[in-house]
Amino acid sequence: MRWQVTQQLAVNWDWTDGDSLPDSHYLRSNRIRQHWSDAGLFIVGQSPDAMRGYYLCQLGTKFSNTSLGVALLERASKLAPLEPSNLNNLAWAYATSASTDPGTRRLGVSYAF
């Protein structure tokens, strides 16, 4: 996570390592992250809504075989529209539900990409 402590100061905290690691640590650990960085998508602060959307996606995915779960995935995608896993998992839920109408299925395909 990245804590925006003040307007000028952001502090990284890695809950896995239990330490504050520099941005360069994460860039080194995965080459694709350099592409994200170049695209301005790496180490971007999450808003509280986006964080909540990410969690709701996980929860919705667990229950994606129910209408409540799918509704949760839809809410998650609205709260965190830039989180790839949200759109991906919503697309998967649409694709695997027998009750999805054709229009929504087409929408799901676009989410998958």
Binding site: M1, W3, V5, T6, L9, V11, W13, W15, T16, D17, G18, D19, S20, P48, M51, R52, Y55, L56, Q58, L59, T61, K62, F63, T66, L68, G69, L72, P84, S85, N88, N89, A91, W92, A112
Partner: protein, 162 residues
Amino acid sequence: MISSNRRWAMYIVVGMMISASVRSAMSASSIAPHRESADTAPIKPFTATTMALLVAEEERLHTLSPSVKALAQNVVESAVKAARTVSIHPSDQVTAVATLRAIQQTLARANFLQLPREDLWKRTLGESLSPHDASDPDVIDALEDSQNSARLAYVDRRGPFY
């Protein structure tokens, strides 16, 4: 498709929620006409935290046991308390890191472990806050994993683990 996205780790999310809670307390204080000491600054009630909101979201889908809800509340309150003993108004890197470290140690004292394999990661609070015995093979693996080495000084080896 879904398996590639199983990035959910309870530990990380709890950490984010707790830090959000601390941040909210700090934000509330920052708009006050004067700065209050750590002892007198108001603490946001648990019911107003992100964790409480997420517990409520999950309860719409299935029943959460009272012990899960109690643990969620206890760990958030303990972490906020630990953070406030360091600072409620961090404004520099050293103090901010010390605050986060205090939260991390609180979570370790609650026996929250990082699961070493992605297939063990949890998606829900109900799963994440359910206890595991010290004899559980996944717990044994987790305790031996280097990702938990910094936590070992704080965990209670008798369990239970989360």
